[in-house]
């Protein structure tokens, strides 16, 4: 694999210009800046809220300094609460080109779009001339998520991703699984895989937090389509989702934006801390994909049974299709046909190996299906988190 070496020592497998709106009022201008460059690795990201939020700020700071991001353009209306100066300075400190356009100061929509496009054009050319370096598997952080799950997800795609994770962890890559609301019922087993007794307690507590949070909302992490695909209950969905984690020891418990300090398997806690405040922890799959990316994932493995088609801004998404019927209908969107396992045409290990091979291909620049199709979804909303404690991380 080849990629781009960043000042913090991490390496990107893409060299994206991120154009970030800092409030919904700047969204259209930012989208127009991106539109002529849509096939040239210029991606639209942003935060819609007018009121400042520490989580959103930290997420944008991590995304702006993500290894797959080479430069960042901030698009501000001018009067929103986002700390645009702090964000620009934090990104500039990483050595990346960063620039801010402020609509209210630049003379409105047209002039801001023109100024933004001129900057992107120049910086895109700079990034295209940057040299690449070799990238090894142990320099990757890989996230995983399942979306549009059905009764086959837990039988094929999820355990196959688990096998891929086991192989990646064995060579000291960092692997992140998540969605503690979809691990309700698995906390005891997960705790038994924790590297330390303190970490085991923290894992149990974070699933209990998720169960309380969802109980207040009166709703689990379960969509009607899950039931149409054969799943019945949160705990059944959890058991299937949990299979994505594989069989390795769990070395850390992180929150959105925390970077794994070394290789190994990490659980990402996406459920906010404190009282239930801003609604659902994960309004759609891309909210979690963005959180996996903010933790440094250069690539994301997405398991789907019903057939999600999404990709993401910033990081390539590999879609592993669990259901053979879905694969036949949506093969143009799917990278891996894990449903072959049900018919006895492939084993979990074989599909796990295929996933690792596809990760390496993406690391050599090959586009995933969702990249080819132009998927660059992105969502960021309000949340609140307390910082993690030292017992959550392994020694570096």
């Amino acid at each position: 694999m080849r990629g781009w070496l960043r000042s913090d020592g991490r390496k990107g497998i893409r060299n994206v210009v991120a154009v970030a709106y800092l409030v919904e009022c700047a969204h259209h201008v930012a989208r127009e800046i991106v539109s002529p460059f849509r096939d040239r690795d210029v991606h639209l990201i942003g935060f819609p809220g007018c009121y400042a939020n520490q989580y959103a700020y930290d997420m944008m700071r991590r995304l702006g300094a993500h290894p797959n991001v080479g430069a960042v353009l901030l698009v501000s209306l001018g009067c929103e609460g986002f700390d645009r100066r702090g964000l620009r300075e934090a990104i500039a400190a990483t050595g990346r080109p960063v620039h801010t356009v402020v609509i209210q100061a630049a003379g409105g929509t047209r002039s801001t779009i023109a100024a933004g496009r001129a900057w992107v054009e120049r910086v895109r050319a700079e990034l295209d001339a940057q040299p690449t370096v070799p990238v090894a598997l142990d320099e990757l952080t890989v996230g995983t998520i399942c979306g549009g799950s059905d009764g086959t997800s837990g039988l094929t795609a999820n355990p196959a991703i688990g096998r891929a994770f086991d192989r990646l962890v064995a060579v000291n890559a960092a692997c992140i699984f998540e969605e503690t609301g979809e691990l309700i019922g698995c906390e005891g087993h997960m705790a038994s895989r924790a590297a330390t007794p303190q970490l085991a307690e923290l894992i149990t507590a974070c699933v209990e937090k998720a169960a309380r949070y969802y109980a207040v909302l009166g709703h689990g992490s379960f969509a009607p389509g899950n039931a149409e695909g054969g799943l019945t209950t949160q705990e059944e969905k959890s058991m299937g989702a949990y299979a994505k984690s594989g069989a390795s020891q769990i070395v850390g418990l992180i929150k959105p934006g925390d970077i794994p300090p070394r290789g190994g398997l990490y659980l990402l806690d996406v459920v906010p801390d404190g009282e239930v405040r801003f609604g659902f922890p994960n309004i759609a799959d891309n909210a979690e994909i963005v959180e996996l990316i903010a933790c440094g994932s250069q690539i994301v493995l997405f398991s789907t049974g019903r057939g999600s088609v999404v990709g993401s801004a910033i990081a390539p998404v590999i879609k592993v299709c669990a259901n053979p019927d879905t694969y036949r209908r949506l093969s143009e969107d799917m990278d891996v046909d894990a449903g072959r396992i049900l018919a006895g045409e492939a084993t979990l290990d074989e599909v796990g190996d295929e996933i690792v091979t596809l990760i390496e291909a993406a690391g050599r620049g090959q586009k995933t299906k969702s990249e080819e199709l132009g998927h660059q979804e992105f969502i960021l909303t309000y949340k609140t988190f307390e910082p993690i404690g030292p017992a959550c991380l392994p020694a570096a």
């Binding site: 009764g151 086959t152 039988l155 109980a215 009166g218 709703h219 969509a223 009607p224 705990e235």
Partner: protein
């Protein structure tokens, strides 16, 4: 002869349901625990079939773990889904005939 039809998957010896690995027709005979069982209705891939008779209020076990409880009696060979089981943690929401959002 093997105790289970190859189109059925028993995930754990402790399970009281099996999972369909293929789309099965209603009335079809499948082999379960060494016996021939007639399916009550069509079963789509990924759905669960009762491995034994259930009373209402019994735990349903899949992957060797409890995934909810029955709400009615269920006969061996019948589909086990939201019309006859529920979560022990949180309600499940479904589309009602393709529209709306109904609590089960």
């Amino acid at each position: 002869m093997k105790p289970f039809d190859p189109r059925l998957l028993l995930l754990s010896e402790h399970d009281n349901v099996v999972v369909a690995c293929a789309n099965l027709r209603g009335g079809e005979i499948v082999r379960m625990d060494g016996e021939n069982v007639k399916l009550g209705a069509e079963v789509s891939v990924g759905f669960k079939i009762a491995r034994r008779d259930f009373d209402a209020g019994e735990k349903v076990t899949k992957y060797g773990a409890p995934i909810g409880s029955t709400t009615t009696a269920i006969r061996r060979g019948e589909i086990v889904h939201l019309h006859n089981m529920k979560s022990d943690y949180l309600p499940t929401y479904v589309h009602d005939g393709g529209v709306g959002f109904t609590k089960r």
